[in-house]
């Protein structure tokens, strides 16, 4: 029997890679008076629901698709931030 899982994958620009979006947001926040902000990095977050027999299988699949699709390894790094059984409530978040 298979179960449903939900993973949260964060994709951020690799260290050293230019992040114009983060810079523009930082500039905007400064103009707005949030001078205490010293740095912003902007990335993506994906919430992926998947069927898998067990947690390990789910994690493997998520890792593989993060590598291949969700992140562009040339300029980004990804992290599986969480992997939890999918409950009814979670599905609606």
């Amino acid at each position: 029997m298979s179960n449903a899982w939900v993973a949260e994958v964060v994709v951020m620009p690799k260290a050293g890679v230019n992040d114009p979006q983060g810079e523009a947001i930082l500039g905007g926040l400064h103009d707005l008076g949030y001078r205490a902000v010293s740095r912003v990095r902007a990335g993506k977050q994906f919430r992926v629901e998947i069927d898998a027999e067990n947690e390990a299988a789910a994690r493997n699949a998520i890792a593989e698709m993060s590598d291949r699709v969700l992140a562009n390894p040339v300029i980004e790094v990804y992290e599986i931030e969480s992997l939890t059984p999918l409950t009814g409530a979670g599905a609606e978040r």
């Binding site: 620009p13 690799k14 050293g16 890679v17 230019n18 992040d19 114009p20 810079e23 523009a24 500039g27 562009n72 040339v74 300029i75």
Partner: protein, 733 residues
Amino acid sequence: MPEAVVNSIAPGAWREVALSDDEYALILELLGREPTPVELGMFGSMWSEHCGYKHTRPLFPRLPTDGPQVLQGPGENAGAVSIGNGLAVVFKVESHNHPSAVEPYEGAATGVGGIVRDIFTMGARPIALLNSLRFGKLDDQRNRYLFDNVVGGIGGYGNCLGIPTVGGEVFFDDSYSGNPLVNAMCIGIVTEDGIVRAKASGVGNLIMLIGADTGRDGLHGATFASVDDPEASHRGVIQVGNPFLEKLLLEASLELLTSGAVVAMQDLGAAGLTSSTIECASRGGVGAEIDVALVPRREEGMTAYEVMLSESQERMLLVVEPHGFEQVDAIVRKWSLHSSVIGRITDDGMVRVMDGDVVTADVPAEFFTDKCPTYVRPAAEAPHVVAARETDTSAFSDLKPGQAPAVLLELLSSPNICSRKPVYERYDHTILTNTVVAPGQADAAVLRIKGQQSGIATAIDCNSRYCYLDPHLGAMHAVAEACRNVSCTGGRPLAITNCLNFGNPERPAGYFQLDNAVQGIADACRALDVPVISGNVSLYNETANSPVFPTPTIGAVGLLDDVCRHATMVWKPGQSIVLLGAWSPVLGGSEFLSYWHDAVAGQPPSLDLEGELRVQELVRDLIGAGVVRTAHDVALGGIAVALAKMAIVSGVGANVQLPRTVERVDAQWFGEAASAIIVAVEAGDEERVRANAAEAGVPFLRLGETGDSGLTINGGKAIPLSALSVAHEHGFA
């Protein structure tokens, strides 16, 4: 020698910056000592093909670069030609092939960023972009990914800058699989006396850096673009462009250049601070001293070496008189940017790089530029190319007459011929409200110049299959076709720019292609009387030792005296369709042969440059006289494809007889030839056109007339317009 330098060069370290043993020996001889690590890195970049033009410099003297219209030929950031009334257009094409192979979106985007900087550095406001793209076949997922993302990157950058992308070409062939070609061209406009040159002068003047902070982006991009190791370019940090910053930089730079405070301006492209400092100093015959410690960084812990060789985008180097500093700083800040003084102009001809108190490099500027070795390599045509060219195309079985209409529909939906709308609709082509003839409407784009009666036409072209089969002839075709496309809208070609995309020149077969293609450009330019005013070179375009088709991309710009008198591909019902120019179509090198028989073979069409000149002149005159408003040259896919495309954009069919100059059905419908232009004219003007053609010595052949809701060829069954359109529109799906 720099006293503070203690690091010595490990044996063979020069090979890591792509210098040969002989080149390293030459450096030792020039310097009379070992270079420092920073110096070695600087030599590696400056003596790369990308910056040093080692293999192409000896070929360049062949190209004609003069003409009364030429205000600036090759040698500056871009070339410039006069368009009258005190105005000039500035233009250039540049490649970003290697970065795009690794990261297509950012590679293409930063390619656009780079060429745009070349234009506004000259003081010109960019008014149009074009691009020429080549990929492997789309049934391969990676090629599809590259295509989608390259187009995305070009659009992403140009759209954000607010510069319309008005034209281009896309071509697919296996030779480009894994090594796409991404060439971007930019056109700017400036008053003749507003042209600025990147020539540093004035001992004691400040060297300033404006724009982005410096990170570790693209270290050694220039070097790695000069070795055929596709993995090599992975080693650096990929450059990520920031078009928003470039837009600010563009506005700030144009304002700075009119302020009078700036002596020279140079963008930071390949080899970053290294090449910009050296080129600026050497053009002005002065020296420069900069301190990398004063360069604002994005990253912590960067070494002098990294700062000097970083290819971070969106940066500009300025030479400013000391009293102009305040003014420059104020303008820069107005555009939400910051500036830093990083050095001074000196009188000793040396490029000196300090890191605080430490001298990390100290070399005469000319060692990097004039002393860069050049190579003339042995050339020999590859036997398999000779064999391909000498293939007897008559051995391919001909089509049956009844088969041709179905083949036409198939060709119309093939990747090299289908509608490019899915590409150009991702580019803003209406911004700046100068686009008189938009993509998809004609062989070239036409732009108005606000406040003037005149306008400009521009196109970018290269049939690289012809170049593969015969590089000399193919390059001539590229020049002829680019100019012909401009002429087909009514523009008189003023000059061209070129981008030489080739494989490894160190192999005899590669050098043969390069050598012959440059000669072909030179010959065609002389015959058609169009000078070359700018260009760019990208060699080592290979995957697994297999080179791309030799691809000398040609961008042409022409002038229309009255922009209202232009032509498009659109015809109206009830007009006569006429073919102007000699017509002897061949299958050699044709799209049909490649698509239908999967053969890149045969002798490509011959090219009579005098006939070419005559037909172009005739068509321009007819357009200028207001007689012709519809013109389209016959190119890929031959005459049947050309007529079908005209019918599709017009939404009006036609009834035509194809010329019976050849026996074979396939050659009659899909054979290719140069120097032939289809025009549509009001029936009442037909005789006048016939007379003008006779006078001009241009063959005239009536093909038929427009009208109906289908295309009827040789009296067969009409192919409904809707069938033609559907085939054409969905080629990439």
